[in-house]
Amino acid sequence: MKKILILSILLFSLFGLTSCDKEEIETYKAANNIYFPRAVFPAYNNAPLIDSTGFSFSFDKADVTGRIYSIPVQVQGVVSDVDRKIKVSVDPSSTAVLGTHFSLPENIVLHAGKQIDSIQVTVNRTLDLKDKAVTLVLNLEENEFFTVNMKDRITNVLTQKKINYTRFKLTFTDKLTQPIGWQAVFGVFTAKKFFLMCELMNLEPEMFNQPQGSPGLSIPETLYYASFMKRYLTDQKAEGNTIYEEDGKEMLFP
């Protein structure tokens, strides 16, 4: 009986000894790939994976002359303790003109200690954007710090549609288009009508970028907006201050 006890204690201590071995853990040794992470990781929960996006200046106030748009970049590989330069080129297919529509920072770097960084693109609200949209296409290029072996992935085997990891498209415009929240009860969409409505009732233009039924765009709310505007136009007309659209026609709510 006692023997069994002693033997088993010995045996277990032997097991214990095995853990006294020191082992080096393998670290990442392959190339450092640079890529646009929005095509790999969603920006928020259930967000779509994207290699292109866009925005419009049209709802911005008149004194807004540009925006700085940050495009995230990420490294697949090691984090370094020095700043590493990223080589970026503007694709020939880009319709946005460097220096006119946008400018890139002189030094695009992945900062020391960071895995994710961003390219700060300065986008200018130029006059010609009023009636057209332009697209900026950025390519990540290989340099002394990074490789670009992580190119793309086929998302649809039938059509061979790809999502790009090293190319990012940014489309922007200042053209005011009918927002999705615009309702039939408001009649034909015009910029003047839209902004007058927002100004009189203290509405945020951005609100109309949501589908019907969203906060502020329920059926009773939209009926109310139309009712308000109809009354306003009638009252203004009665006071001899008829409100016209840009094309000279009288502003109308059906």
Binding site: G216, S218, Y224, R231
Partner: protein
């Protein structure tokens, strides 16, 4: 064998206990850090907006030799709790002293004073300071009335921290408002949540010709799109639509009454004034509603009265129409809701006994007066003939006290208090040569005013008086009196 194991286990356990005797090598030498004992800040301030305002706090740090003048960072943050979280905070200064022109819009703010010690990295927050940023039209009684037959809005301006109230005649003109009242004075009402969105408080002024207009609550500014017609859906209201009266239960909902029609607004249910709500669900035409609404509480059922068919009807806010009252068996103490054979003389919901409603009825055949009381869920709690009430048939104005449930009524220059328990009325006030033009209780506002009987009287100018109503039919106690006003038609208290 088992005995051995037991002993061994006990010895092992003892060994574990011994570990409790190991001396603890932790550091228990607590060091004092720099602390503040701030003085020179009051708990509450009242400042006029745009005025010079200074607070000079003494920090009295416990561990600071004063050698480093740049040791602390300061921040004064004003927070308006009535606003949405993202727009409630305003940083007004980042200096040690608050010193300069105060540019906050009038409101009751919570003022925070933060001190950051850059050496220790510790953030200090002082107790919250109440900061009343006021204008001369910040708070007080809004009095709607006539002067030479024309509507005028006066204000009894009551500023927190300033003992003497100020009477502002024609406050719209004094505040530079664009609103010019036309016609006779009709109604004034104020409540919170009058519109969805950023408008948090509404003051509605009604004159017979210029209509019902909403004022910007801090500046009394107005433009045409602030008329109540603009708050309606459907085009049937004229732009100068004037209500006969409006009645708001607690805020964020409201009833309008005009010529037998009742309209309803509810912010949470997204209901706007639109079609008349005085329609019975199984009938096709609207009924002519009596000019009284038992608006009930937010959880109860509002009750209307049909003038033609002499019946009570309960209103459903969600369905937007009325239905028959719950069935009851008529007796000497229970009134048949649907066949009252009575004219409605007066009806209101009071704060008495969990929002009980009171109705004064006059029997069409006998001419006798009855008092009916019913709960928020339309259960009759009292129905008896009104006895020993002098000149009740000549009464022009009524009000119900929230504490004791007394029914007050006026005849000419006299105010009577009717006690439904003793079934008798007592003469409480005789104003002599003054005519009583207004009688009421404020259902909303500060507790100082909420239980007071409000009497408006007129001889050469108007006078507004507030009385405490003591229990057991005790004599009224005059609390405040404001004279030099217009001939009072309606009053409301603009709360903060």
């Amino acid at each position: 064998m088992f005995k051995n194991i037991k002993i061994q286990t006990a010895v092992l356990m003892l060994l574990l206990l011994v570990y409790g005797c190991v001396s603890d090598e932790g550091n228990y030498n607590y060091e004092k850090i720099n602390e503040f004992n701030v003085t020179g800040i009051q708990k509450e301030y009242t400042v006029y907006t745009g005025d010079y305002f200074k607070i000079t706090p003494e920090l009295n740090p416990t561990l600071d030799d004063g050698s480093d003048h740049d040791r602390y960072e300061y921040k004064w943050v004003a927070l308006n709790p009535a606003k949405l979280a993202y727009e409630a905070r305003t940083t007004i200064a980042t200096t040690k002293n608050l010193d300069g022109i105060l540019k906050l819009p009038p409101a009751k703010y919570e003022l925070y004073y933060f001190i950051k010690d850059k050496v220790t990295g510790v953030n200090w927050q002082q107790p919250i300071i109440t900061l009343n940023v006021v204008s001369s039209i910040y708070e007080g009684w809004l009095v709607m009335g006539d002067v030479d037959g024309k509507a005028r809005l006066d204000m009894v301006s009551i500023i927190p921290g300033i003992p003497q109230p100020r009477i502002i005649n024609d406050v719209l003109d004094a505040a530079g408002s664009a609103l010019k009242l036309k016609g006779k004075a009709v109604d004034v009402e104020s409540f919170s949540g009058p519109l969805p969105g950023s408008v948090i408080y509404g003051i509605y002024v009604t004159a017979s010709e210029s209509g019902t207009a909403r004022l910007e609550p801090d500046s009394f500014e107005w433009n045409q799109t602030m008329n109540i017609a603009y708050e309606t859906v459907g085009g049937s209201f004229p732009t100068n639509f004037a209500v006969d009266f409006m009645k708001c239960p607690i805020g964020s909902e409201n009833f309008l009454y005009k010529d037998g029609n009742i309209y309803y607004y509810n912010r949470a249910l997204q209901i706007r004034y639109g079609l008349p709500q005085n329609k019975v669900d199984i009938e096709t035409k609207t009924f002519y509603a009596a000019p009284f609404i038992a608006e009930s509480s937010s959880a109860g059922t509002p009750v209307f009265f049909d003038v033609e068919k002499h019946r009570f009807l309960r209103y459903s806010t969600s369905k937007g129409n009325c239905s028959a009252m719950p069935p009851v068996t008529a007796s000497s103490t229970v009134l048949d809701w649907n066949n009252t054979n009575c004219e409605l003389v007066y009806m209101t919901t009071s704060n008495f006994n969990l929002n009980e409603s009171f109705a004064v009825l006059k029997n069409s055949s006998t001419g006798k007066f009855y008092l009916l009381r019913f709960s928020a869920s339309s259960v009759q709690t009292y129905y008896k003939e009104m006895l020993n009430a002098p000149d009740l048939d000549k009464a022009t104005k009524f009000a119900v006290s929230p504490d004791a449930g007394y029914l007050f009524y006026t005849v000419g220059n006299k105010v009577y208090e009717y006690d439904s328990g003793t079934q008798s009325a007592k003469l409480m006030l005789d104003k002599g040569n003054e005519e009583i033009t207004y009688l009421g209780f404020s259902k909303r506002g500060k507790k100082e005013i909420i239980n007071k009987l409000i009497v408006g009287s007129y001889s050469t100018t108007g006078k507004l008086e507030l009385y405490t109503v003591p229990p057991v039919n005790g004599d009224l106690i005059l609390e405040s009196s404001y004279s030099g006003l217009c001939k009072i038609v309606d009053v409301t208290y603009r709360v903060r």
